[in-house]
């Protein structure tokens, strides 16, 4: 629709007065012909028909037409496909400010009282109107492209989500079969084992467990990313949750020669949490603490009231590992962040654990942070809301 810069602009004059049309045509050919291709029609209906079949670059519209007035013309034009892209300059017999405001509101690009029309004024008005229309069209095109990109991204996101769902089912079935087959042999259900065989099967089973954790981290992270993970909080005694998490980690810690300590303040109020999810956070922090502590080190869990925000409860997991550099502390809770070091290779992991911890704690309304001294150890602390029967539950 938009003319090339070199090609003449298509101008449609809609005016029932032959004299006025002649005047405009003359103005448009001054100072030299060839800048514009000029078309003329006498009625609003004919003008709209041309706009529909061969949209011009600009319309010069007489306000008073035999069949329509300027406002009616603009209204109908705006309802046509692509109609709003055609700039219209309204020409009225006399200046009238109210009319000027009305037609501009109805979408006119400009308004000129006929007595002020000169070759220069008309040229300037057309040039402005066409430029504006070009810019508007470009903006509209960009908006459309952005919308398309947005829709594409949403679609891809949905595809990734269903891929994760498929992954969950397709990988967990074989994983279950391997894990349980190994466990059946290990438990001696199909015959006795040598010490060597037992050792290798334990390795296989532990690796299955590691894979399951990674797979679940992946699925949880995907759900957290899309806000699909919701928590179901209840009033829970935090002491029991911590004791069970510590008990679950004890065999691994013992095998590595790491001491596990717990210190739970007495008379703590019940916390308002999704127990499975907070157990997941604790398990994650404990597993990291054991992983990063050297043999002979100590991992401790401390539960007490949050002094800065009573009656909230603080849970702190400390280790005697190599600590975290100050520069890294801001990033360790980010998605896919991995502490890089010479021996990072043997630690592996997807780098999702702390991200999941942070998101889960946030879903409870709490905070998580780390304090660390290089070569002495780190302490991860998170806060949890408490349940007070007389209050409406938090959240």
């Amino acid at each position: 629709m938009m003319a090339h810069r070199d090609a003449p602009l298509q101008i449609l004059i809609v005016d029932d007065s032959p004299e006025d049309r002649m005047v405009y045509r003359r103005h448009l050919q001054y100072p030299h012909a060839g800048t514009y291709d000029v078309w003329e029609v006498e009625t609003g209906a004919d003008g709209l028909a041309v706009c529909q079949t061969q949209p011009p670059d600009c319309v010069l519209l007489d306000y008073r037409l035999p069949d329509l007035d300027g406002l009616e013309f603009l209204t109908v034009l705006a309802s046509l496909e692509g109609g709003t892209n055609i700039p219209v300059i309204v020409l009225a017999s006399q200046g009238n400010e109210t009319l000027a405001v009305d037609v501009m509101k109805a979408g006119a690009a400009d308004y000129m009282p006929k007595p002020t029309v000169s070759a220069k004024a008309l040229e300037r008005a057309i040039s402005n109107a066409v430029n504006q229309a070009t810019l508007r069209a470009a903006l509209e095109e960009q908006r459309r492209m952005l919308e398309q990109t947005n829709a594409d991204l949403r679609h891809q996101h949905e595809e990734i989500r269903s891929f994760y769902h498929m992954l969950s089912h397709e990988m967990k079935t074989p994983l279950t079969v391997i894990w349980e087959s190994v466990a059946i042999v290990l438990d001696g259900l199909v015959g006795p084992l040598t010490v060597q065989q037992r050792k290798h099967l334990h390795l296989a089973k532990a690796s299955c467990g590691q894979m399951t954790l990674s797979l679940n981290d992946l699925l949880d992270a995907a759900r957290l990313d899309t806000g699909k993970l919701r928590i179901a909080p209840r009033a829970v005694a935090i002491g029991g949750v911590v004791e069970r998490a510590v008990a679950a980690m004890t065999p691994t810690a013992q095998a590595k020669g790491i001491g596990l300590q717990q210190c739970i303040a007495r008379d703590l109020p019940d916390v308002w949490i999704d127990e499975l999810r907070i157990a997941q956070v604790l398990g994650n922090l404990l597993s990291n603490a054991v992983k990063f502590s050297p043999a002979g080190g100590t991992v401790s869990v401390r539960v007490c009231q949050d002094q800065l925000r009573p009656p909230w409860v603080c849970v702190a997991v400390g280790d005697t590992g190599r600590g975290i550099e100050p520069a890294q502390r801001d990033y360790i809770f980010d998605r896919l962040y991995q502490v890089r070091s010479d021996d990072a290779g043997i630690e592996g992991g997807l780098g999702l654990g702390l991200y999941i911890c942070r998101q889960l704690v946030r879903l409870h309304g709490g905070q998580i942070w780390v304090e660390s001294t290089p070569n002495q150890g780190s302490t991860f602390t998170f806060t949890l809301p408490t349940y007070n029967a007389s209050d409406t539950p938090p959240r």
Binding site: K172, T173, L175, T176, W179, E180, I184, H202, Q254
Partner: protein
């Protein structure tokens, strides 16, 4: 008297794993490979307990449990769900249907057997201690 377990699971390899465990623990096992068979087998055999997968071709385990509860002769059968899904809220929905336990795959067989024994009012066998080889 030997107790009967109905194992509802579309994956034959997992049916085999479960059968091995359950037979070793002294139970009789009836497999059902989809939701429709699950209902038929439950009505026909009146198992003492049903191990029920949730996402199966041709029907959802939650619906199977709901339907069995509306039938007088199957309403009192204990149900343990066993699923690969980690869909949020699934555990709560399953337990709200009156299930006695909910396990995610891969499951820990000792915990599963303990849950079955508890549901049937039997003594819980002592699971072999988890040994970590040095």
């Amino acid at each position: 008297v030997q107790k009967t377990m109905l194992v509802v699971e579309d994956e034959p390899r997992i049916v085999e794993m479960l059968t091995t465990r359950l037979k070793a623990a002294g139970y009789r096992v009836i497999p059902a490979y989809d939701a429709v068979l699950a209902g038929m087998m439950a009505l026909k055999h009146h198992p003492d307990l049903i191990l029920l997968d949730i996402s199966m071709p041709g029907g959802n385990g939650l619906l199977v449990a709901e339907r069995l509860q509306h039938v007088e002769t199957t309403a009192s059968i204990s149900i343990i769900f066993l699923t690969a899904s980690r869909q949020p809220g699934l555990r709560a929905r399953a337990m709200a249907l009156g299930a006695v336990a909910f396990f995610e795959k891969p499951y820990d067989a000792h915990q599963l057997l303990a849950a079955i024994a508890r549901a049937l009012g039997e003594p819980v066998a002592h699971a072999p201690a988890f040994v970590v080889e040095p």
